[in-house]
């Protein structure tokens, strides 16, 4: 029983590390751009596919392919986000939300057009795990945990220690005041999209490293990633990290009590329940 609990906890943390890379970026863009970008998880898919193209099609070793893939995802994702969300003549959050659904449709099916709908894999061998009692982790899974932690820490440092971070936080608090005070909001938003796409595409690559990739992989993550971001208090990147951890753990722990087919529903219920008592999330501005 304890072994099983430990195992589920490890699984939950693994799931959380992938969710966090999506949820932190989502939360950041929500705070600054003030709308829920449904296409955000599709940036994960984008990173996975660009990496796949370099790795499996061109034959670049995975490490370099991942770097090239992230750059390619930035070159595609950031302009898409800038045009669709910053340049179109719309203002309301609902319009942007609907536009993001359109963007999600387009990204997914453009990838489907070029790569087909089938699952694909990076050219990496299957690994056996290191076994420490009930804890079983492969080298790639450990790499995933490390990369996710490093990136999340980097975002923390960026937000708290740099000028860009201060501007982003200022926009999130009060965009009008920020603009009046002379900050370059346009450039800050560009940086924000770049950070979001960077985090998401890295998450997508780690996902592909451990599992398989499909055009729908981003769409399938919409609800867990949003749950994590909302639970953490949407617009609050720190909360998103914690939210991802809660979602990952609750989802996996729940399988001890109820059939695992309900585990996605459990994540949703956790979020709904939390919002009933804390309408701005666990770590939202209160």
């Amino acid at each position: 029983m304890i072994a099983e609990f430990v195992h589920l906890t490890v699984t939950g943390v693994l799931v959380a590390s992938l969710l966090a890379l999506g949820a932190v970026g989502l939360s950041l863009t929500f705070g600054v751009a003030r709308f829920a970008n449904v296409a955000h998880p599709d940036f994960m898919m984008l990173g996975a596919y660009t990496t796949f193209a370099f790795n499996s099609l061109i034959g670049v070793p995975l490490g370099w392919a991942a770097l090239a893939g992230i750059v390619a995802a930035l070159l595609v994702g950031v302009p898409v986000a800038r045009i669709a969300y910053d340049k179109l003549p719309v203002t309301g959050t609902v319009q942007l939300l609907i536009i993001s659904i359109g963007v999600s449709f387009i990204l997914r099916h453009v990838v489907l057009f070029f790569f087909g709908s089938g699952f694909l894999q990076f050219a990496v061998p299957l690994q056996r795990p290191y076994v420490w009692g009930p804890v079983r982790l492969t080298p790639y899974q450990i790499l995933t945990l490390v990369v996710a932690s490093v990136l999340v820490l980097a975002v923390h440092l960026l937000l708290s220690r740099t000028k860009l971070g201060r501007i982003l936080r200022a926009i999130a608090d009060n965009p009008v005041l920020c603009e009046i005070s002379g900050a370059d909001v346009g450039r800050a938003r560009l940086a924000m999209w770049a950070i979001a796409v960077l985090l998401a595409s890295t998450g997508g690559i780690l996902f592909g490293l451990n599992l398989v990739i499909q055009p729908n992989m981003g769409w399938d993550l919409v609800i867990p990633i949003f749950s994590a971001a909302i639970l953490g208090g949407i617009g609050n990147p720190y909360g998103a990290m914690a939210g991802a951890l809660v979602i990952g753990l609750v989802q996996e722990w729940s399988t001890l009590l109820i059939p695992s087919v309900y585990k996605e529903a459990v994540a949703f219920c956790a979020m709904a329940l939390c919002l009933m008592f804390r309408p701005r999330g666990l770590w939202g501005a209160a």
Binding site: F30, R34, F35, A36, A84, L88, P89, V90, T91, G92, T93, V94, Q95, L97, I98, I99, I101, G102, V103, S104, F105, I106, R108, H109, V110, L112, F113, G116, S117, D173, N174, V222, I223, F226, S227, I230, I234, G235, P259, V261, Y262, E264, A265, F268, C269, M271, A272, L275, M276, P279, R280, G284, A285, A286
Partner: protein, 301 residues
């Protein structure tokens, strides 16, 4: 061809009911409901299960409406106090939650096996061919729903809902119980969606959870946006155009044979995404009515 047009008209009619429901939510009241398909699914399943248990069609449909309205009230009570983005994502999650329940409550719904053999009501009555009979039934439902929506939109209720949509603070200041009115709106829209679900279940005679994915919700949003949110009449022709475009693109490949089928299918979805964006940007009614977001700090201050 005639049969195809009859089938299309039936599909359009059922979709119109869905659009009218969503128009009630978003167009009239400003509720960003991204889980519309949940009410559609509940209406379909309740009606299908009850009819197969021997309950008359209209009673079963009524029960479906009851279930959907009840679900909408529960959902609304839990979520309507939250910001509109939260509401949007929560409703989306709710619709997936409902689908998971239908998929896994196997004792009741047969889960992934689905429910085949749902009877069509009044089959062969008066010697009218089945599909024409059913189209008539759908058209009556649309007519009633349309009249109801027009009446409600012009009634004091409709006026209050629009007032809440345009300026929540002012409506509150006038002593309106905003939450209660929003719940009422949610219920009406959910009821219409349930009627659509019931009609769909008895039309295709088979329901399965796979039918009730969020895509239905998004298509309904597109239909409403094309027609112009807030306009009852717009819901009619917005839906007609949507179905014409969705079905019309099927014929594109009869004219464009050089791309292979799977790729063409992908392009079709890209076009749908692009269409959604362009409609949102260039259909003015939607653009002219955005509530300024209030910064979190000021609310909780």
């Amino acid at each position: 061809m005639t049969e195809y047009l009859i089938a299309l008209a039936t599909i359009v009619g059922i979709q119109v009911l869905l659009t009218l429901g969503l128009n009630f939510h978003y167009g009239i009241t400003g509720l960003v409901n991204f889980g519309h398909v949940a009410f559609y699914a509940l209406g379909a399943y309740a009606s299908a299960l009850l009819t197969l248990a021997g309950v008359p069609f209209l009673v079963a449909m009524g029960a479906g409406v009851g279930v959907a309205v009840l679900a909408s009230l529960l959902l609304g009570t839990a979520t309507l106090r939250l910001g509109e983005d939260y509401f949007a994502i929560l409703t989306l999650g709710f619709s997936e939650f409902v689908r998971l329940l239908l998929l896994n409550a196997r004792e009741l719904t047969r889960g992934a096996l689905g429910i085949p053999g749902i009877p069509r009501p009044w089959r062969g009555l008066g010697g009218v061919p089945d599909h024409i009979m059913y189209l008539g039934l759908v058209l009556i439902a649309v007519g009633v729903a349309f009249a109801l929506c027009e009446v409600l939109a012009r009634s004091p209720l409709g006026r209050t809902l629009r007032a809440i949509r345009d300026d929540e603070q002012a409506a509150m200041a006038l002593g309106k119980d905003v939450l209660r009115f929003r719940l009422t709106s949610l219920g009406w829209g959910a009821g219409l969606a349930a009627v659509a679900g019931s009609l769909w279940a008895h039309y295709v005679t088979y329901v399965v959870p796979d039918q009730f994915t969020p895509e239905i919700t998004f298509y309904t949003w597109m239909a409403m946006i094309i027609g112009g949110p807030g306009s009852t009449r717009g819901a009619l022709w917005g839906t007609a155009i949507l179905v014409a475009v969705l079905e019309g693109t099927r014929f594109a490949k009869d004219v464009m044979p050089m791309i292979d089928e799977p790729r063409l299918a992908a392009l079709r979805q890209v076009a749908i995404g692009l269409g959604l964006i362009l409609m949102t940007v260039y259909v003015r009614k939607l653009g002219g009515r955005s509530r300024p977001r209030v910064a979190p700090a000021t609310v909780s201050g």
